[in-house]
Symmetry: C2
Subunit: 344 residues, 2 copies
């Protein structure tokens, strides 16, 4: 079902999931391609990004961003081509990345949350990954909150995802010992052999705690938290004095429908943070660090081009396959940055 020149396929939030999302929570519809008014431009979407944060948008629990309304188009970032422009500064043919796009073929834009890309960019989908929100998240959280020093031990979960690969590879460039956690032997092998991590532990094995202890003989100085759950439980006892915890995601919790059974470990965590003098900071990348994006690109782009930072994408073909791919993302089925190719 390829992109059409005459209709706009859209994937709507059909209903709010209870627990893990299912196909029934999404609804693909065909609508008219919107007309372009003054101060607007029409984007033809070529690549769309699927990211764990979208699970939050499907829920109406209080969060930092408004939820997608039931019946509304699922939000996402896209790499798009300007098809028609009545907006100053943009012309037909321009390549852009929009953070205010949607799971759809065409997006009407007023230019807000749109960044211009190099029209000759070799791999435009990287603007959704290593050179976009996830890579930026890994880089800023590691460097600004984590502040790793050479010789320290950095642990990152979801190690082969688009955040984890950047965290680990940049930490290696900074002279750290890097230990990843990932789901499955293939991902772990990739993290060590291709990305250069010192170790990577399979959280699906039943000895996560022992393996992590063995991989971190000097304890943990920076734990980059994007997962939560049992990985965090294994990390806690190993945190060194003055450890830092950048906190950008909790994918292990996103489908939870209630709090876990007791005892209540909230006081335990606070006691640990006090006695070990730990700093934990939650951050939402563009909210905290938007002004740093140009500098980030100046640093990361040459690293990617030279191969100092390697990139792994998990490409899915066809807008209509986005819901299934997203459901798999929350289960850890993807291997690398998950992007959906909507059109050439």
């Amino acid at each position: 079902m390829p992109q059409s020149d005459t209709t706009n396929r859209q994937i709507l939030l059909a209903s709010r999931p209870v627990g893990a999302p299912t196909a029934a929570n999404f609804n693909l519809v065909e609508t008219a391609i919107p007309a372009v008014g003054t101060g607007q431009m029409l984007l033809r979407n070529r690549w769309m990004s699927l990211d764990p944060y979208m699970r939050g948008r499907m829920s109406d629990a209080k969060s930092y961003a408004d939820p997608v309304p039931v019946g509304g188009v699922m939000t996402c970032a896209t790499v798009s081509e300007v098809l028609e422009s009545k907006l100053d500064g943009y012309a037909a043919g321009d390549l852009v990345m929009s953070f205010a796009s949607g799971w759809q073929d065409y997006t009407l834009s007023d230019g807000a949350m749109v960044f211009r890309l190099d029209n000759n960019m070799k791999e435009p989908s990287q603007a959704l990954g290593v050179l976009g929100m996830p890579g930026f998240t890994g880089y800023m959280g590691l460097t600004d909150i984590g502040q790793p020093k050479a010789g320290e031990t950095v642990v990152v979960a979801a190690a082969t995802g688009p955040v984890g690969t950047v965290v680990g590879q940049v930490a290696k460039l900074m002279g750290c010992r890097v230990v990843g956690v990932a789901g499955g032997a293939d991902k772990c092998r990739y993290a060590v052999e291709e990305l250069g991590f010192d170790a990577c532990i399979d959280h699906k094995a039943d000895d996560l705690n022992d393996k992590l202890i063995a991989a971190c003989p000097k304890g943990i100085d920076v734990y980059f938290e994007n997962v939560g759950g049992k990985v965090f439980d294994a990390v806690m006892p190993l945190l060194n004095p003055h450890a830092r915890i950048p906190l950008c995601g909790l994918i292990a919790q996103y489908n939870a429908t209630e709090l876990p059974a007791g005892p209540d470990r909230l006081p335990q965590l606070m006691r640990l943070m006090l006695s070990q003098r730990i700093r934990m900071q939650g951050f939402i990348i563009f909210d905290n660090y938007g002004h740093c994006f140009p500098d980030f690109l100046k640093t990361m782009t040459p690293w990617v081009e030279s191969g100092k930072v390697r990139v792994k994408e998990d490409r899915v073909e066809g807008l209509e396959n986005a819901p299934e791919a997203f459901i798999g993302l929350l289960e850890g089925k993807n291997f690398g940055k998950l992007v959906v190719k909507i059109a050439d």
Copy 2:
């Protein structure tokens, strides 16, 4: 039972408490006054400090400092007079403050953790409070981790204690709205009428949550955490985006013998820190900020002398009364910085 010139009264840790300490956990003995060797000095202790952190030293749970051994002298800071010195730089008659002292009449010192005081200091006991560890804790936690901006709302518990009074009064000097939490109407009245807090809520009343909501109409930007427990529970839902939580103590937990019943709210706290982009940092004042102590004294001393920062002490007479006073401290019975006068 006054201080003697011939014997050294010492209060020992007789046994480790299970839950709240009792008188049976302490043992007062009389020993010989130690002889002074080369590189040592003998301190005659005049004032001793009682602080919540000492509950941790009575336990052998893993923490940032070694526990007091059973049968060992309870540790504390004292304001002392040098009685005899074979240590360069100190002479008989010098007034000092020692962080490595004990619940006793005389302390043998090698000069480690000893700070010289002005021999003419009007209120030497303030070196244990507003101009010592607690005041320094409040000042650095608030200014360096809390980083309050004028117009923001700062909440501090144990509002009339030596940390809370400094946090609140300095936050007022910085132009913040300051809301205290304290135990009892007298303490709350003092915080508002004498210290100038905008509001102070009695946590012994049964409407802590509602009162805190009413006192913080713009939410909470800085919560200075020195208590934990139900105050933190009431604070959590009110934390604004980008709130900061300096964490220096958890007195409400110190006597706990097991974790509270479930559900497990650890994931809830992490979710809150992520969605509200909260920074929490545990700190141990001299470990994190020891190098800042001289600058702190330069700032705080004139504030105290001019009355910009007001001081409240709760003075107990007699070394032998220290255990009972300490047990009361953990129950919130003191009103102001708790110090024990050992001798003139």
